[in-house]
Point group: C2
Chain length 333, copies 2
């Protein structure tokens, strides 16, 4: 069996560490594993298949001999390293937003448009976390009839802000338990015992860039260039699973029964019919696994052709690391 | 100045206690104050104007001489006591859902339909908490052009489940801080570090009764019998303020500027333009006060005549106790 040399760029962050776990869990045939990070983290180790692998400082010459580079760094660094990765002959599967809307770069959720990944020029983009989870949840319905529009409200975990977000929620909870004041650093205000209706940065239409991703990236992934999405992105004090309440309008009317059947049959999805006596998922239920759980499927009372549903998925896994490894898995299969 | 004898039925619960505070804060001219509760709580005291007032056991003969009875008990008890209250000649301002949809009973948010309160037959209903907060937030827009439909996703505080909900979140947070397991009692599953997309009980159309209140009660309060609402009610680990992400469609197109002007001018509302450097409210900002704070007003990208907004309000105050006292204040003004 062929083996693949795989580098993880940003191997010490929340997403990078999860990529290493998932490469192992999925039994990806890894030849050499190369964990890369900033010079600050170089020399530390990360666990892989029972060994402690030394983290190396990422440089433009780090990628020689690699087949794949999984990117778990922010956009500026992804942009900075991409040419060197492509020149080295490796395929760069990038979790940042740097190349997602580049028409030359496929933007891939394997269950939906895996085939797009094959026509890459060395870079494949991993979509935004909420977009991946929503796309998988509605993928089965979209295959029955094109989705024309969508109203989505998110309940996003702090892991979306990386390791710093996870630490901030834990620190704030501990401070509150001790009766101490909370000092926000990563988030614009207190997130423990609060919700924050603002993620990312404002764009000229008063939506945030995070909110516009569901429309912009959704159009590209679902091959629905006319898709209209109104999104409200809200941070909630949950560690690592995002939830999204979706109301959508399809071209032809889809019944609740038909929609449930499509969700049940869709790869990467679990239709929640019984979960500890509940028929709806919560973010805690979906933490630490890769399926998107969907429940609360019902008719939209405002639109004859509308449906409403609720979905949850692990932000670090299916929303980031697992989707990237699944793209790699698709390409080597 | 005329003084009014006022009983609070359920004076020891989260909403009842707040009613006492608000009667005092609003300088309601109270003659006799009569705190009533179950026989279990009788004999304890509640604070009012610097005194400790003895709580009496509620009975059918408790209401003689009262001008108003503020109800802060659940529906079955409200139904049980209502005839005795009406027979006594007092006006019953009831916070339960028992009489809200009764065509003989006005359902009142004073900023919107205060005048409806005047034509009562002894009972006036206080609406559901999320409905009050949403109605105040959209009241100014509705006055410009009728609202035809609405998609609402809620982020509801644990106080909506009463004192038990507040205690449960605090206990779960403390248990997690000690590394102990969480045992849900009030909520169907863990609420600390989680969100739960289910409040109330299922109805035949797969919406919960809590979700249907926004359409049913909204129609009555806003005098919009055709209003269509798709609602998803979600419990979040926040103590006492509800937030609602609203997307609405008006009969004629309302610009964002026009909507903001209407919200700014609407009584009971605060348009959030600057709140500690943010131009959006969070539930923590609105705890312990009576205004509904509105922000994130923007065009709905899915509908030419649509608008999206975000609002927060204190569930125990404007969502329950303050609205009830404001109805009383309206009637005596």
């Amino acid at each position: 069996m062929r083996q693949y040399n795989i580098a993880v760029l940003g191997a010490t962050g929340a997403v990078g560490r999860e990529m290493l776990k998932i490469l192992e869990e999925y039994h990806i045939p890894v030849g050499r594993l190369l964990p890369l990070a900033s010079s600050r983290s170089a020399g530390s180790t990360v666990p892989f298949k029972g060994e402690a692998i030394r983290v190396e400082a990422a440089g433009k010459d780090s990628f020689a001999g690699m087949d794949f580079v999984l990117g778990a760094v922010k956009s500026p660094m992804a942009r900075d390293f991409a040419p060197a990765i492509v020149d080295s002959g490796a395929v760069f599967i990038d979790n940042s937003s740097a190349f997602r809307m580049d028409p030359e770069v496929p933007l891939v959720v394997p269950e939906i448009n895996g085939a797009d990944a094959r026509s890459n020029n060395g870079i494949i983009a991993n979509p935004n976390c909420s977009t991946i989870i929503t796309a998988v949840a509605i993928g089965g319905i979209a295959a029955l009839s094109p989705i024309e529009s969508m109203v989505a409200c998110t309940y996003q975990a702090v892991s979306g802000a990386g390791q710093g977000g996870l630490v901030e929620l834990e620190e704030q909870m501990a401070a509150l338990a001790r009766g101490e004041a909370v000092r926000p650093k990563v988030f614009p205000t207190q997130i423990a015992m609060n919700v924050i209706p603002f993620i990312g940065a404002f764009t000229p239409n008063d939506y945030t860039d995070e909110e516009m991703k569901l429309q912009n990236e959704g159009r590209k992934i679902l091959h629905l260039p006319e898709l209209k999405v109104t999104c409200t992105c809200v941070r909630v004090p949950v560690m690592r699973s995002h939830s999204i309440a979706v109301t959508l309008r399809t071209k032809r009317k889809i019944s609740v029964a038909e929609a449930c059947e499509a969700i049940r049959a869709f790869p990467g999805c679990r239709l929640v019919e019984d979960c500890q006596g509940r028929n709806y998922p919560t973010p805690l239920d979906t933490s630490g696994q890769d399926l998107v759980w969907v429940g609360r499927v019902r008719e939209d009372l405002t639109d004859e052709n509308g449906l409403a549903l609720w979905c949850c998925g692990d932000q670090i896994r299916k929303g980031a690391a697992a989707n990237a490894v699944q793209i790699l898995q698709y390409l080597i299969s």
